[in-house]
């Protein structure tokens, strides 16, 4: 596993908004099959990193390689089709669609299926993440259902790499445990996962490796046990959390 080339390589990535530097010279790699945790205090640049890698923002500087291919200049939809997909921290369902239709969209366009196969694919994925009520309108869905739908949508495009942006936030203990199992299942199916989380238990439970961001930079990298004892991390992140 170690000998394989990394699935994602980020090189000297910088993203500025006006005078503000949200992502500051980040470099890291992600190995095929890995579950990587990205943690850091609010405003550390986690979601911006997700947006830049998934293609919603163009980086100000730096390059992004996916499976050895330079994807820096590609649009979000192109990266999605290549196999990078993501969920949204603030859930962004398509309100006019049912749950199933929401998931179908990404099967249709991310994976390029026809209507019938997309529907089948969407059903499969929904079942995989444990969604039962598929034809309900968005207004009547629960938070858990919406979170699951975000994940299902990210999976329906058949990705190699998935960003899960705070999918556990706002869930109770049982729900969180259920979700952790789901993520493990996803990883077991061969998909590389990048988990962005505030809930430390989840990071501890799920990830093989963690990178810690603060003000756009990596301040620590290693296993959860390693990084959680580093003083910078405690002061930057854990300290703030208390």
């Amino acid at each position: 596993m170690k000998n394989e080339p990394p699935i994602l390589t980020v090189e000297k990535l910088i993203k500025r908004f006006g005078g503000l530097v949200a992502v500051d010279n980040l470099s890291f790699t992600v190995q095929q099959g890995e579950v990587l945790g990205v943690i850091g205090p609010n405003g550390a640049g986690k979601t911006t990193l997700t947006n830049v890698v998934s293609g919603l923002y163009r980086p100000s500087e730096g390059r992004i390689f996916f499976q050895g291919k330079d994807v820096t200049e590609l649009d979000a939809h192109q990266r999605c089709r290549l196999g990078i997909s993501r969920t949204f921290q603030l859930m962004r369902p398509i309100r006019e669609f049912t749950i199933l239709e929401n998931v179908m969209v990404s099967a249709l366009f991310g994976k390029g299926l026809d209507l019938k196969s997309a529907q089948n694919r969407a059903r499969e994925v929904c079942e995989f993440v444990g969604l039962k009520r598929l034809k309900i309108p968005i207004e009547s869905a629960t938070v858990l259902e919406l979170k699951k739908m975000e994940i299902a949508r990210a999976l329906a495009s058949g990705p190699q790499l998935v960003f899960l942006d705070e999918v556990m936030a706002g869930l109770n203990v049982d729900e969180t445990n259920e979700m952790i199992e789901t993520v493990k299942k996803i990883n077991a199916s061969g998909v590389t996962v990048i988990v962005i989380e505030h809930v430390m238990n989840v990071i501890k439970e799920l990830t093989h490796r963690v990178i810690v961001l603060d003000r756009g930079r990596i301040i620590a990298e290693g296993s959860y046990e390693e990084v959680s004892h580093q003083p910078e991390v405690i002061s930057a992140y854990l300290g703030e959390e208390e």
Binding site: A76, H77, F88, F109, G112
Partner: protein, 316 residues
């Protein structure tokens, strides 16, 4: 249930197709106009389904009018073929402009399409020798020598074609793409939808429809001028009809154009002076009391009676 629906649709289409056989020339003429607005309304609504509010309807209508009439006039092209040319010309212009303007959103897209229509008008008015300038150009005879039945069938075909395209949009993956774009472009992008490609596709298709409708209109009267071809009537009336009927659907614009089209004619005959005031009041009333249009209201009533009757709600 589905079969019954198909039967009803077929019956309505047949009734519409056979309209000239049982209606006199006057209702025929009014319906021809209604069908013109219906096709324009549908094309506008199709663009709106992507979330883009276009005010370019009259502009592409006018381009189609000119292209059709001038190719017949100068190149002796068969009028029917020229209508097709009108559509192609509008599509080409839309394709070229689309690259520049489809990154605009909301009010900025709306006003730019309106301004483009203004540019078309000024150009048509000032190329005196080619377009006939402000006075326009006439053909020696109208299409089919003005035979109202054939003109009706022509317009009916155009409107039916628009309905079919609109339904195609509703029943294929296109619906998923454009509904997603309208609701949330970021989600759409992240789900693998090439937003620009779909916007361009819909913009070109709807402009082509507008061009065809314009071509058919110009050939119907054998006449084109900047004032008539780019008239704001062809912009505002279809929009009003769609909103009155109900947007984001095929049925809404169809219902809206028939109801408002017939109503305006009736009001005119009933109240020779000031009928437009009543028309205006009706439009205001629709906005205030039927915010989702006639179709939306019908759906609401249907839902109510269904729940009252106790029908199953699970059925989607």
């Amino acid at each position: 249930m589905k079969k019954l629906g198909m039967l009803i649709i077929l019956a309505v289409v047949a009734l519409g197709f056979l309209f000239p056989l049982y209606a006199g020339p006057y209702p025929l003429h009014v319906m021809t106009t209604v069908l013109t607005y219906m096709a324009l309304g549908l094309s506008w609504d199709m663009m709106l389904r992507t979330g883009q509010l276009s005010f370019g309807t009259a502009g592409f209508f006018g381009l189609g009018s000119y292209a059709a009439l001038l190719t017949t006039l100068y190149l002796g092209l068969n009028p029917l073929a020229s209508i097709f040319v009108g559509g192609v010309f509008a599509a080409i212009v839309a394709f070229a402009l689309g690259y520049a303007i489809l990154r605009l959103r909301e009010i900025y897209f709306a006003i730019t399409t309106l301004a483009l229509a203004g540019v078309f008008t000024v150009v048509a008015r000032n190329l005196h020798d080619f377009t006939g300038g402000p006075e326009g150009k006439i053909l020696p005879s109208a299409i089919f020598n003005g035979d109202p039945t054939k003109v009706y069938w022509l317009t009916f075909s155009v409107a039916l074609g628009s309905i079919l395209v609109s339904e195609l949009f509703q029943r294929t993956r296109i619906r998923f793409a454009i509904t997603a774009i309208r609701n949330d472009e970021i989600t759409a992008k992240s789900s693998g939808i090439d937003i620009f490609k779909y916007l361009l596709f819909v913009f070109v298709i709807t402009s082509a429809i507008q061009g065809v409708v314009g071509g058919a209109y110009a050939q119907q009267y054998g006449f084109v001028s900047p004032e008539s071809a780019f008239s704001t009537n062809f912009l505002l009336l279809p929009i009003a009809m769609c909103l009155a009927g109900g947007i984001y659907s095929t049925l809404g614009p169809v219902i809206g154009s028939v109801i408002l089209g017939v109503l305006s004619e009736y009001l005119k005959l009933r109240f020779p002076y000031g009928h437009l005031i009543i028309y205006g009041v009706i439009i205001v009333a629709i906005v205030l009391f039927m915010p989702h249009g006639i179709l939306g209201m019908l759906k609401k009533i249907a839902q109510k009676t269904r729940t009252e009757v106790g029908g199953n709600e699970n059925e989607k």
